[in-house]
């Protein structure tokens, strides 16, 4: 088949217009879009809120306890929105963390394969339901139930929204925690069982500690979702910025404020308008820190088994 003695010229030139040459550049350009997105977000938040902070001292903004930027007598203290967001997050975590972890342990340690094969897709479906549907559910289903149980519940209240946000993040926490536990090697479990441990002892004393970083990371990620959640709180938590610790009250979150102003449309360039960027910046920074923290935890404390 080969021509004997025929020498192939190994030095034949390659064309610089070949796909092999052009495509990496094209692909890199596309890859750059995600960087541009981040830059876009940061630049917009910073420049627009810079205008805001020229009118409102940062310290007043961060420490003020009254938020009435749209009224004639304006106050620009973002704390009520922050506490509103925190309230939702706390309620959501009370719901989601124990339940998410419990179901992760069940799926990873207890469940027969068949059950797991059924339950996991259900959780995936649950994770894929749009938040507007959850918001509707909170307002038209959960709130009326709460009102029958606790009559002083307001129609818009933090509790209902928080519970439903919690339900929304359960699948995420459950599945990420389960992944973390699944990566704990079977040899550790066998070691524990061989010493006479029950399933519970094996899960709680061996598997959960070994998967701890992954579990904590899933918690932080779930909570960061709760912080950034918008539609559920917009529909069900109310629009009243106040520093209330009563979960039955209506509150306003950072996200709900942005939506209500943006859809009400205040004049571009005005201080009122810039508030949404300042609030957006606060939101962005909080979630960014949480995401970085989650990444850090899962990298730094990853067990090398």
């Amino acid at each position: 088949m080969p021509r004997s003695n025929s020498k192939v010229d190994l030095k034949k030139r390659k064309s610089y217009f070949s796909m092999d040459f052009i495509m990496p550049i094209v692909l890199a350009l596309f890859a750059g879009i995600s960087v541009l997105t981040t830059i876009g977000i940061v630049v917009i938040l910073l420049t627009e809120s810079a205008g805001f902070f020229r009118h409102v001292p940062i310290l007043d903004f961060l420490t003020g306890t009254e938020w009435t930027p749209l009224f004639s007598e304006k106050s620009f203290g973002v704390l009520p929105l922050v506490t509103g967001t925190l309230m939702i997050t706390v309620i959501a975590s009370i719901v989601a963390l124990p339940i998410g972890l419990g179901s992760a342990i069940y799926l990873s340690e207890y469940a027969p394969n068949r059950v797991r094969a059924i339950v996991k897709p259900i959780l995936e479906v649950l994770a894929g339901i749009p938040t507007i549907v959850y918001g509707f559910f909170a307002l038209t289903f959960v709130t009326p139930i709460l009102q029958t149980i606790i009559p002083q519940t307001e129609i818009f209240n933090a509790l209902s929204a928080g519970i439903v946000v919690g339900i929304m993040i359960i699948p995420m926490i459950s599945s990420l925690s389960e992944d973390a536990m699944a990566s704990v090697p079977a040899s550790l479990r066998n070691g524990a069982y061989a010493l006479g441990s029950t399933k519970l002892e094996t899960s709680v004393k061996i598997v959960v500690p070994a998967a701890f970083s992954g579990i904590v990371a899933s918690f932080v990620l779930g909570l960061s979702r709760a912080v950034g959640e918008t539609m559920i709180v917009t529909l069900a938590a109310g629009l009243q910025p106040r520093m209330s610790l009563n979960p039955l009250d209506s509150i306003e979150t950072l996200t709900a404020y942005i939506v209500s102003v943006a859809s009400g449309d205040v004049r571009a360039g005005s201080v009122e308008y810039q508030t949404i960027y300042a609030v957006g910046l606060v939101l962005f920074v909080i979630t960014l820190l949480m995401n970085i923290l989650a990444g850090y935890i899962s990298r730094k404390f990853r067990e090398v088994y």
Binding site: S187, N190, G196, P209
Partner: protein, 250 residues
Amino acid sequence: MSIVEIQNLNLYYTEFHALKQVNMSIPEKSITAFIGPSGCGKSTLLRTLNRMNDMIKGVRIDGKININGTNIYDPDVNVELLRKNIGMVFQQPNPFPKSIYDNVAYGPRIHGITNKSELDEIVEKSLRGSALWEEVKDYLKKSAYGLSGGQQQRLCIARALAVNPEILLMDEPTSALDPISTLKIEELIQELKKDYTIVIVTHNMQQAARVSGQTAFFLNGEVIEFADTVKLFSNPEDQRTEDYITGRFG
């Protein structure tokens, strides 16, 4: 006096017949070696002895295993208690991601011992028992993952000793270790024979010959020959045993 009595044991992985009609009695305070080519069922039989096979889906067992006169497959047998009574050491050292101390104390703790000084005592005794005490006594609070492979394996032995078992099962305990650690563990096993009944699975015929009192040769899920180690290696009765120990297959 025999502590373990295996009678007409058959084990199936779903369809696959992995142990066929096994009969064996293992004397107390002795070392029994299981040898045979890969896949012949050595580990499977070992795991039936502390019912670790329970964990595997689709395992079906018939026949009897009496330990101290109780059939461990009786429905009212308490598996946790059984396993406490029968320690197990695995092929890969598998210390928990905890401190050396907590590794050894794990077993006693789950079995209800909380008293600090009592635990201290057990930990020291077990580590001495596995010939590790001198090497680690100043680092008890350090992570077990800092130890070498051989040390980790001895730690796992200490962990097994800490719950005070009668029987110790070892599944190729040295196959992941270097020659020097292997030697140490072999010595340790000899030492442990005084107090425990030991069953050891090994790929290494020399090791079986060196450490064990009796040896069982497995092939395709059957026990071909079970005899005193010296006899089995010097004068096997079955042609297949002879072929195997002279290296003609495996």
